[in-house]
Amino acid sequence: MNRASFHRNRSQFRLGFWLLLAPIVLWLSLLIILPHVDMVLVSLRERIASRQYGFSLDNYTAFFTEPLYWNTFVRTAVMSIIATLMTLIIAFPVSFYIAKVLSGRPKIALFILCLIPFWVSELVRTYGWMILLRETGLISGALQWLGLAGQPVELLYNDVAIMIGLIYTSMLFMVVPLVTTLDSLDNSLIEAGYDLGGNGWQVMTNIVIPHAMPGIMSGCIVVFMLTLGNYLTPTLLGGKDSLWFTEQIYTQFITRFNWEQGAAFGILLLILSSLIVWLGLKLTKQSFTRVMS
């Protein structure tokens, strides 16, 4: 009847339970919780003199009083949201095509084709875009050859380049959950939608999208997190104006040796990301655990 209870009420399995519980607790506490607690503590410290530190909120006030940090923060968030939405818009028709239009061998082939580029390091992918977009790169060359540009065009080092890089790099994490949820949608539901007089748009908004919502949200969350936390793409593709919050964190840690400020930024980024994810889930009425697993 209740199978789980059978495993529970046998004393010999209690030991097994603790043995299963111990590693996960160790993992989460030592590698996730305590480090973040410690990061909060460090962020509340300030260098008073050489090798002397004291409690202070300055690292946070610096964030709020220095418009630069604010701007970077907002810019990162806004660009991440835009990149996430654009990834969704680009990926959805393709996912739908793979999940619903195709079947059998072409379907598997196309799905794998979707995945393979992403088994390659993000660095390589970004590198590819650098080669394509730079002034002496392929696209610029092609434009000149076609006579569409009279002189080399610089396509690298601007926000569009960052956006392309971000979307490209996140695509997999959108396509996979979308294909999975769309695949689980019974074709007859779509047929029924038409049969009952719906048009394409209505069927899409009333049947397909509500069904795919968990997949959409899970894709969006993962893509958003990856984008927000991306360091490579904005650094390599972004130009002289490119500002990314992770870059700020990196700079504080590596270039300025200012761990205290970096830790404060880290905490702020974490709060920001949690807040946006939470808002997204609230707006779409999805549950975190359901969406993520």
């Binding site: 260098r47 050489s50 090798r51 220095e66 630069l68 940090y69 701007n71 970077t72 730079r134 002034e135 002496t136 080399p152 610089e154 690298l156 080092y157 130009g239 002289k240 104006d241 500002l243 700020q248 700079t251 840690f253 590596i254 270039t255 300025r256 040796f257 200012n258």
Partner: protein
């Protein structure tokens, strides 16, 4: 059952791999250095002569300090930060170990440089650095497209829209300060005055921003920018300029009118160095004139090794003389040690420049 065996196999491989990777090898010299300072042939010769394996990590000043800061001076056996960045880092983070000059063949080092480094790297009565490679930061100019550039501020000339590059790091601030008629080094000990200079530089750099194609961060990246013609004038190291000059005579390294910025990269011992002997052996090895000359050829910069010039090829010597007539040589502004706290002020300026539109 098969999968069990599979995992056992995996586990064994994993264990072996980790044992190999994580066990510290005593006879290894882990060198934290700049690109070109430890060319492959020199390393091979050293390894053959001493039996010590050399493991190289390429880095720059900030990276070096931050890596050593994170490890509190462990993980590497010998590092090569610039002489002006040693004392403040030592004061804040205690990451270095005093140098035992008696173990170094000081006769092989140019005395004036040794003395200067000794003075600049002294902290609480101990000396931390010995000089190795020295050079300057100045301007790389493509004469066919940017012949007007004579000083740092000329990079802001309207004719150079979108074809200029420099690093968004402290040398740029210092260089511009000199070009704007200030003496930032004199203001090192006066934060208010220094801030005023920085403000001035900041304004200028922000005005100048539309000229910038990209801020470079690695030497070769800049070379590629100039080489491909994407950038026609840049603030950069002399060695890069000479390298490009050899490929394309139109490109030259120019000592700016307000003076090139002179730096000396040193040898320092991280506090928890595990191969101190090997480190001293390496220092003495690379300071031999012939070896030092080979490093000069690879790095493009001259070393502090006595008499190595003889072994350096003529092209480099000619290039050096072209870029540095006596007046320019005398005009070099050598970096004094950076007092702690200054870099934070500079950092904020750099951030604001980056953020400006």
């Amino acid at each position: 059952m098969r999968s069990l065996r599979y995992f056992k196999k995996l586990a064994v491989i994993g264990a072996v791999a980790s044992a190999v990777s994580f066990s510290a090898q005593a006879e290894t010299l882990r060198l934290l250095t700049w690109g070109g300072y430890a060319p492959q042939d020199v390393v091979e010769q050293f390894e053959q002569e001493t039996g010590v394996t050399v493991k190289i990590t390429l880095s720059n000043n900030e990276d070096m300090i931050s890596k050593l800061r994170a490890t509190r001076g462990a993980g590497f056996d010998l590092a090569q930060p610039s002489q002006d960045r040693i004392v403040s880092a030592q004061a804040d983070f205690n990451i270095y170990k005093p140098m035992d000059l008696s173990k170094i063949d000081t006769a092989k080092i140019i005395p004036s440089m040794l003395a200067a480094t000794q003075k600049n790297t002294e902290f609480e009565g101990e000396v931390y650095g010995v000089p190795h490679v020295w050079g300057t930061s100045g301007l790389i100019v493509n004469r066919s497209t940017a012949s007007t550039v004579k000083d740092y501020t000329d990079l802001c000339d309207d004719s150079l829209q979108g074809s200029v590059s420099y690093r968004l790091k402290r040398p740029t601030l210092i260089g511009f300060a000199f070009a704007l008629g200030e003496d930032p080094f004199a203001a090192y000990d006066n934060p208010d005055q220094y801030q005023a200079i920085l403000d001035k530089v900041e304004t200028r750099l922000i005005e100048c921003k539309s000229n910038v194609k990209a801020y470079w961060s690695g030497g070769d990246a800049l070379l590629n920018l100039v080489r491909s013609g994407e950038v026609s004038a840049a603030m950069a190291w002399d060695a890069g300029g000479w390298k490009l000059n050899a490929e394309n005579p139109d490109i030259r390294f120019v000592a700016p009118a307000s003076g090139a910025l002179g730096w000396i990269d040193t040898f320092v011992l991280p506090r928890k160095t595990k191969a101190e002997d090997a480190a001293y052996r390496w220092i003495n090895f690379v300071m031999q004139p012939e070896i030092a000359a080979r490093i000069t050829e690879s790095a493009g910069n001259f070393t502090a090794a006595q008499g190595s010039d003889e072994f350096v090829n003529d092209t480099l010597k000619t290039q050096f003389k072209e870029s540095f007539p006596q007046a320019a040589l005398d005009n070099i502004n050598w970096y004094p040690p950076v007092p702690a706290g200054l870099e934070e002020m500079e950092g904020k300026v750099l951030d604001r420049v980056k953020a400006a539109n």
